[in-house]
Symmetry: D2
Subunit: 309 residues, 4 copies
């Protein structure tokens, strides 16, 4: 968690084209646990080892994409402070009342220069991970239903003005830059990976003319063998794989990119080194960007830059 | 890192009985990288993926054990503040000047109620992990010399008054309790696992009558397969294994406990779940303590409680 | 398979003390698939990736242990030839009629000098592994129920006169010696590992005064990570673990030894090198026998030699 | 090994365009051990866990490709018998004298209908795997130089008349069909996987108009994690990867295809199920051939069918 009280990615809200088909995908194939449905028709999910009520919310819409992405903060007091800090920084904020999302406290919502809606909140009901808080087992059978990631880990968003986004995340939210890809001019970043913790990324951005686009939401797996199992399950379930299993140069994590039934890209991810704010950022130049993104292939595929929702 | 600026375990200083034999062990068998020797005769090591100059220091002495354990903080300003906070809390501090340890800035040293010396510091020279900060490869051949952990991860210390230790770490240093073992009285903790980050532990304590004792220093591995490789290398090198490969119930990490040539226990550790300060601590009761410590065996071995240095 | 037509371990018939409890263990914990029950009250199991109808049969009895262990041969013609060869070698054989075991053809049964009953048979109904023979997936959800080994792999039997057993397996059945432990006299084998294939063992024997004893039946796992998963499931289900996860020096396989509810030892095993009849056998001497049996511990535990059923 | 005495793939002889560059590749990147050079300028290699003197031989030539592929048989007597059987079957054989290849006995060479030269031999000097035959360790440091496969495992050859090849391998050499891909006519095989052991393939063929072509020689790895390590080392050494890490539907093995500096494709392979001659072959139809070859992608890439040497 960042030193200003931002804990972690809390929830992602996605638009899907067919709710029923998507519920099959997120519940049975990706293997998230459905934790509720609200009056708006949204369906709520959590990964098995998360304790808070939800980390992914889907709703039916005419086009795919992301509605908003949220971070949990450590207390209502921090929420108030960050709301105030954001406004002082010149970022208008909106207050979403408690209960607008199931089991979730009040949220502070704001738009960042890349066109995305980001939220902060301090409260979400602890529903546990299926094991008691006294003398738990190491895992539960629920950990083996579908791909079954342990957590929603991060997202990668596409939009303009990512240098302004970086400044906002660093100066107000306490994130720090872990890696970046620099364009041929040697000054402008094509992509930035930001952490609010010791993870190699909690959120990342790629410069893109169209605002508010989603590249992927990422889900955490425990091992490279579980990445293989995920790929097998994707094949069995005819999930469209973009690339993988492979490794990223950036973060060194192992990965599969694939698409949900609406075309939203998701990632099943493992590893990534531990990092800290005192670590010098790692820089990738355009002549080696291929190795940075896909370490084994050492070249980008067209889809990585072009296909977003 | 904690919200008050404590980043991570920075260095452990161990006493060994025979320096030459220990240098073979730490350099060739455990596979740390020697980074220097000082006028006092101390030898400095870092794990291959650490960037700071050192994380383990050994010196020859008549009896094994730990001299001190340190945490890096994010800035000199934080160091000053925490020094002041410690004194305000009633903990006398000592200032060790820059350079007393190689490539290390000024340190604030203090004794905690369990009898151990803890240090804080803000500066240690970045010597890199053997890969450039521009377009690095995913790892280096150095990552395969000996057991070759990626990082020094945490330590477990034995001593009295651990409830006072917990209070100090929480209230001054910003750590939080992740798991604990409660004695039969239902109130007194036998053991506590504390985090200053999202790791399941950055330091841990077991209640013990004799102050200042070391249970183990732990080194991080990337995978369960590397835990197997570590056990194989221990066997090849006739390292005395205490227990493992196995899994802990506490933290769920996979592990081997073994002894350096002087009898200091060390751990090669992988995994452990991600945790945050808003997570309810997990409690172990004495009837299930065996499963908490050694998940597969479900019982403690005598050595776990009795053998410390 | 051996050059004389002996294919592989086909079935093991075990005695259990409580059938219901054992059915829970073999079906739900070990995760074998129940394929039938016969009029004698025996229950039949196969591992998920085996195609033949059964590989383990259990019956209720007053004491635990093994009734018989069988090898499948490649044809009825080979069965007749080996029956004839056995009798020519001086080994009386008994013919068990087709159907005495479910879905199993006629069996040739004989007693070996260690006191065990061994069977040969040529026919067992192909019930498949749950996937079609045309365009199958890589695995099925059934591969994740309980520990879920892929195959029954081998057994280790205790009894006298193992040099005579070795001669019989080599000269009549076409097995070859892969590894052996030699007693202090430098001539007498304490233990022998025999292969009829390229596996490091299809059957093994330890010299023991009491005839006809079972040390363990072994089940095959795909990876060291599945060995960890097996240990976790044993802990969750309070299975009594003898030792492991660890590695054998002999065969280099990774392993857990544990006990079924009746005290019959079983093994979940992964790996072991590929070997061939032209490979020189590997010899272990008594001063290093510990490393041969348990590579990480480098010493035998008492149970390994003493506890058999 | 087959029941007629064919043990295993013994050696592959490849042509390379630049010997020095290739020696760097096979010795340092793939991590085979150089075991000799002969007067013809050929360089000999073995994988670390093989005990025979060589399993790969390279020579400089104007075009890449395979000169011959050989199987070891269990005895000189078997060699004579199979030579005689081949001639009786109508296949002319040539006798290559002992010593023409280093440390290798007389070889029986013959051309198969696909245009390839196949050899049989009974003798190759046992040089060991770097560990003693008495009380060995589990592996040696040599097992970690470069990609370091344990064995040369199999090859895939392209050429015409593969139904005649299959008949020859089955009827004379004792191989059996494990899997096959059937063309749209429902009768003609596009590809066949043949085993002389319990491996899912010891050799394979794809129907192709041009005779005598090489698709790949395959090298065995112990685990999926070692497949990842192989891919990392390929990237570090700028080896051109064709596809992978991924899984085959056929054999279920995990794999990377890549190219040596001359354009000869090689594979680093792990797993594959155990099979036996009594197992019904698995059939793939052209509508699912993609999943058969590349299980995650579920489609062939052009290179798989077109690029051979």
């Amino acid at each position: 968690m960042a030193m200003n009280g931002v804990l972690r990615p809390g929830h992602a809200a996605l638009r899907v084209l067919d709710l029923k088909e998507s519920m099959h995908f997120y519940g049975n194939v990706l293997g998230l646990q459905e934790t509720g449905r609200d009056k708006q028709g949204r369906v709520y999910y959590k990964a098995w080892d998360e304790r808070d009520h939800n980390s992914l919310v889907i709703r039916q819409a005419d086009r795919a994409g992301i509605d908003f992405f949220a971070f949990k903060v450590d207390s209502p007091k921090t929420l108030e402070k960050l709301d105030s800090d954001l406004r002082a920084y010149g970022v208008p904020t909106e207050r979403i009342p408690e209960g607008e999302m199931l089991e979730t406290g009040p949220r502070v919502r704001f738009q960042i220069p890349s066109g995305h809606l980001i939220e902060l909140y301090a409260q979400k009901t602890d529903v546990g991970n299926g094991m008691p808080y006294v003398n738990p087992e190491a895992w539960t059978p629920a950990a083996e239903k579908g791909i079954a990631p342990t957590r929603m880990d991060h997202c990668l968003l596409y939009g303009p003005d990512i240098e302004k986004v970086q400044k906002l995340f660093e100066e107000v939210l306490g994130f720090y830059l872990v890696e970046h890809i620099v364009l041929e001019d040697g000054r402008t970043d094509l992509a930035i990976w930001l952490s609010s913790s010791i993870k190699a990324h909690d959120i990342a951005f790629v410069r893109h003319p169209e605002p508010g686009k989603l590249h992927h939401v990422s889900f955490l797996l425990d091992s490279w063998e579980k990445v293989l199992r995920a790929a097998d399950l994707m094949s069995m379930n005819r999930v469209s794989i973009d690339i993988g299993p492979t490794r990223h140069g950036v973060t060194r994590g192992t990965t599969i990119y694939a698409f949900d039934p609406s075309g939203n890209r998701f990632e099943t991810f493992c590893g990534g080194y531990q990092t800290y704010p005192d670590c010098q950022p790692i820089k990738w130049t355009m002549d080696e960007v291929g190795a940075g993104v896909f370490y084994h292939e050492r070249k980008l595929n067209e889809r990585f830059l072009a296909v977003v929702t």
